[in-house]
Symmetry: C2
Subunit: 412 residues, 2 copies
């Protein structure tokens, strides 16, 4: 589960307020009954921004707003939880703009430099009186204390059981550069339908084009490998702000500095993606599906995602059942091209490993060992082909009674 330790990257305490020049906080303002429901983030100086947004054709107003504004230099982000402001028509569109405007007035900046996010129930209008008052009361409380970033992480939670945050520091061309991030997401059994939000701050100096490219690539290998392409919620987004306060010489080409920046951002996005899985609704097991030997990267990704999204694979893992046929079946309907007659399947965990399929032929395996392997909380599934050299990894979780319970009772 832990990310591999990477040279030159140190994990430090806190999250989005760790990079220089960022402050934040979160609190309960009355959208939800009790839990925190508003988060504010600001950069002392206008920051370069990048965003990756849901591919759902029904996009919530804050997604549409941000897609327009992301090219501007950004001063802050306002996020509410409890109400998603999705499928809310023209009123919803105006409310998003109003949220940006109210927060912009507090910061004395243009609303065009404010991003907005909402998560929660679809089809309900935002309580704008409550939100307006909440933003005004909360904005003076922003600072860069560790406990404030924790509050910011809590303010974006919905069914999440724990806040998700990380901060790291690395060195780029002689300067210490920091990254902080918070995320929310749960219900990841079918990740496509649960809102996933992540906000990354960094004091690195990098141009917009490279920040966008880097964020997109990092998301493809992390958040998008716990999801299905095109199968995202109405509100999903990952936003990165880079305010240049670290004083590194600006990253403007794909050079060594860029690669260090990318490694750091990869570390952050992968850590948070895994945290989201660990918080999946009703999850008892963490699954990693690795596909090796595919002819193309795209085939490897398709197969890995198809396996990780299979309800029958998920329930088998919940039941500690080495039902490997379901792995092959899911690979088969993934739409990827591969030769299953030379495929291997391996299940492994801290308790050992079993290989029930070798070169396309079933192999008798020790059922007792299989049960021990699959009883562990973290399980690796390897699907190895002999078609090429491409590989991909996807992460997911089992499907349990509690998933059904949580999602059968969410709105009421």
């Amino acid at each position: 589960m832990e990310n591999t330790k990477i040279k030159d990257i140190n994990v430090i305490a806190g999250s989005i307020t760790v990079p220089q020049g960022f402050s934040a906080t979160g609190d309960h303002i009355g959208i939800k009954k009790k839990r925190k429901d508003l988060t504010l983030i600001k950069s002392d100086v206008p920051a370069t921004a990048a965003g990756v947004f849901t591919l759902n054709s029904v996009k919530a107003p804050p997604v549409l707003w941000n897609q327009q504004k992301i090219i501007n230099n950004i001063n802050g982000i306002v996020i509410n939880s409890g109400v998603a402001n999705a499928c809310t028509g023209e009123t919803g569109r105006k409310n998003t703009e109003l949220m940006a405007q109210i927060y912009a007035e507090c910061l004395n900046v243009s609303k065009e430099s404010i991003l907005v996010a909402s998560t929660g129930v679809i089809g309900v209008q935002l309580p704008m009186e409550v939100i307006s008052q909440g933003i005004k009361n909360l904005f003076p409380k922003m600072d860069n204390a560790e406990k404030s970033s924790r509050k910011a992480a809590e303010g974006i939670m919905t069914t999440d059981k724990f806040p998700k945050e990380i901060a790291i520091e690395t060195e780029i061309n002689g300067k210490t550069v920091r990254f902080g991030a918070i995320a929310k997401g749960s219900g990841m059994i079918h990740p496509n339908m649960a809102t996933m939000l992540a906000f990354v701050t960094t004091d690195a100096d990098i141009n917009r084009k490279l920040l966008q490219k880097c964020l997109k690539e990092c998301v493809d290998d992390s958040f998008n490998m716990i999801s299905v392409d095109g199968d995202t919620s109405t509100n999903d987004m990952v936003i990165a702000l880079a305010n240049g306060q670290a004083g590194n010489s600006p990253i403007e080409t794909e050079d060594r500095d860029y690669n260090k920046f990318k490694k750091a951002l990869e570390y952050v996005t992968l850590y948070l993606a895994k945290q989201i899985i660990m918080d999946g609704e009703g999850v008892t097991k963490f699954l990693e599906v690795k596909v090796q030997g595919a002819s193309t990267k795209e085939d490897a990704r398709k197969i890995a995602k198809s396996i990780i999204n299979s309800n029958l694979v998920k329930t088998a893992m919940f039941g500690s059942d080495a039902n490997w046929g379901r792995i092959v079946c899911a690979a088969g309907y993934s739409g990827a091209n591969f030769d299953h007659s030379r495929a291997d399947v391996e299940f492994s965990s801290a308790a050992g490993a079993i290989s029930p399929l070798i070169s396309g032929e079933p192999v008798i395996f020790d059922e007792d060992l299989a049960l021990n392997v699959l009883k562990e909380r973290e399980i690796q599934i390897l699907f190895a082909l002999k078609d090429g050299k491409e590989e991909a990894t996807a992460w997911g979780c089992d499907l349990t009674y509690d998933y059904v319970k949580i999602n059968g009772e969410y709105r009421t």
Copy 2:
């Protein structure tokens, strides 16, 4: 749930042995511990055949066999349950051929005129001694009695809770023509991963090309609307045999006789598709999703299937929760083109109807009425667009604790 009564179609007792010149039976031969596990079907005269097969790229040997042989005139079908003979390598391929050969020898016909189907656990070799002896013992017992067709329906069951069969008669150009059919399938919460088999017999006289066209079209509007295109198990198939014993003048063009034939086949496939849903693993509710006003038939189908396959929609229905936002969200990631800003959503059942979304705007609705509507066992979900005139209907069921239980413990 019941098919609409259609003029000139009478439902009669029995199933595949009702059409003239067909006999069948099923029994327990020892593949499973106790339940029936072998079914034999034969036509007294070689029959014209048509088949629709799984799109999974990992196809079980019997699927590959039948895809080759379906162009021949067919004398019989042998089906085992308990072991799917999928992912079984070269041994599996030989075993399918051997099954055809053993049954062909019993009937004194060529093995090229025998179709084969298997369903059950993936990755286990067929017990060929048991199967060989079973076929030899069972074939003399075939007849056209109603109880024999019931046994045939039972012989193909796996996790099914009840056998699925139907027989109808209609009149084509002055002759009484009969259709009989059996099917198996369950675990239809994600229909793509549960084997679905159906076998239709008819004494109509129809040429092969038209029989194939008609079967494909009927399957597209029935079995394929409880499934996802391309997302089928390794073993799925629907086979139709037409032996011409009704003596109707041969159907060789798409004339009035063909249309009557198609209506009858539609009735049979739709009835069985709905029966499969009703037998879904752990199902407490039957859902019908109707999409209206789409610009293209393909868009309507995509949206209907995306909604019916959404775990979040399914769990909401299990919890009687009018969480209509999940309907819109599922439509949004379906890949279909539509204008959600003019969409309506309606839930209805025997207890009434509620419309929580009208022309893209949420509407306050009576929560008590909503609960009453959704507490019913059969629920209709209408997603109405104003983009065009195309529509599609999909059928499915809720996602329950018992689904998780059944699929977590299937193999062990």
